[in-house]
Symmetry: C2
Subunit: 253 residues, 2 copies
DNA sequence: GAGTGGTCTAGACCACGGT
DNA sequence: CCGTGGTCTAGACCACTCG
């Protein structure tokens, strides 16, 4: 097919830039390498910085670039596959993939959560906040909503709140032998709290995974986990996921 | 409003705007209602249009708004749950949720696809292009890669290409009684082709679902489906999905 | 043709990371 | 301190939809 001719319907500059940069990334840059700064790049391509930034935003959204204020723009490694489909991933693991419990409070859930939990909306629930680490990097921030009826054995005196309390609640929950239930994935943007936990700026794109856990036919807990969309590929099913959608393109001569 | 005070750590204007607009959407607007145009809104909030647009982009990413050139900005309905986890969704259904086969070609797959299919990369495969419609709207554009060895019975003369050929290939494939395999979800941006099929502009955010199908222990097909991230919530597991993550209620106009 | 959102420019200043 | 990316401005023009 034809290339390099004038277009009856010219594509936007930032889109063309994205294409050019994508090819450059595939062929001329190594993972971790830092790109020239935005002002130089813009000058080199003969566009305003805002236009250049529009192209960079695209590439960051696609997980090809990583930008950090005060540092620079670097070539991102391929997204890591993060298991989300099985129950094994739910509990504190070890080594390269684990949850770190951060906090636990007892409060009224948002209306939408109460509805999914099938509880009175005024009834307080345990809310566990934890972070999922993979290869030393935070990949997800989760809020676990647990009705008090799900963990009746919990001794209230153990720890009033904080990480110790969170671990106590999770220990009780784990005894229920939850069945992983339905889950859903949608695009969202990180709120201030999540952004801090994920080491991103507010508004950063995230994949929100909501999962309902069952035990004894009841809804025992609800998880709302926000995964970094730039660095994560969520995998469901047995394997570590299908290796698609990244890396060098075909060269059309 | 508008008479708030200085902040020790001032949040960006566009982020504050996003918050204000979110609350306004929750309380003062009904689904489908059109907002004032961007120039008016910017003036009303005392910011430049670019800043206002940054806030609108956030809200569109979150599925709260829908913007169409030449028309205006409207309040988006809650995202629709789209089943992606079971095999049932794979075949042409009927009524409100169905695939429309569009085309079929025989060509060399991209290197990454060939790898996942465990075929020689120079070996041509069937490539079926189809679109998933839900409630009359396009929600996904899919490329199905099928090695010729998976559908040996296909009579090459039936239809050389086009929609008829696509249906013939799918019919053969369906006879294999595929087992749904592993799948992965990641954020991407729509290419020119996908954008047209999804009725969006190039670069629109999409959720890319790659699924590997098995039959007789072999990889029989690979699907790369791009779902509109603004309108879709992908659901896995039995139910129609968990109803979370969308704000309060409506109001009559 | 009027009105909408989409693209683009050429500046400015700010917040942060490293020195 | 300097250099980086992040935010913001006030314009301009373009592409699209619709009456």
């Amino acid at each position: 097919m034809g290339t390099t001719q004038l277009e009856s319907v010219p594509e936007p500059k930032y889109w063309h830039l994205r294409t050019v940069l994508t090819e450059a990334l595939d062929s001329e840059f190594a993972v971790g390498e830092i790109l020239p700064n935005e002002r130089d790049l813009a000058a080199r391509f003969g566009v305003a910085r805002a236009t250049l930034r529009q192209a960079l935003e695209q590439l960051e959204l696609e997980g090809r670039l990583q930008r950090r204020r005060g540092v620079g723009t670097t070539v991102a490694p391929p997204r890591m596959g993060v298991d989300v489909g099985t129950e094994q991933h739910t509990w504190p693991g070890a080594g390269e993939d684990a949850w770190q419990s951060a906090d636990c409070t007892l409060a009224e859930p948002p209306a939408t959560v109460a509805e999914a939990l099938e509880t009175d909306r005024a009834e307080p629930v345990h809310i566990v906040r934890r972070t999922r680490m993979t290869h030393g990097q935070p990949v997800a921030a989760e809020l676990l909503y647990i009705p008090r009826s799900s963990v009746p054995e919990l001794s209230a005196i153990d720890a009033p709140s904080g990480a110790a309390r969170a671990r106590a609640v999770l220990r009780e929950l784990q005894r229920l032998e939850l069945e992983g239930g339905e889950s859903a994935v949608e695009l969202g943007s990180a709120g201030a709290d999540d952004a801090k936990a994920l080491d991103r700026l507010p508004g950063a794109p995230v994949l929100v995974v909501t999962t309902r856990y069952h035990a004894d036919g009841r809804t025992a807990a609800l998880s709302v986990a926000t995964y970094r969309a730039d660095t994560c590929r969520l995998t469901f099913g047995d394997s570590g996921g299908v290796e698609i959608h990244q890396g060098p393109e075909r060269r059309a001569s």
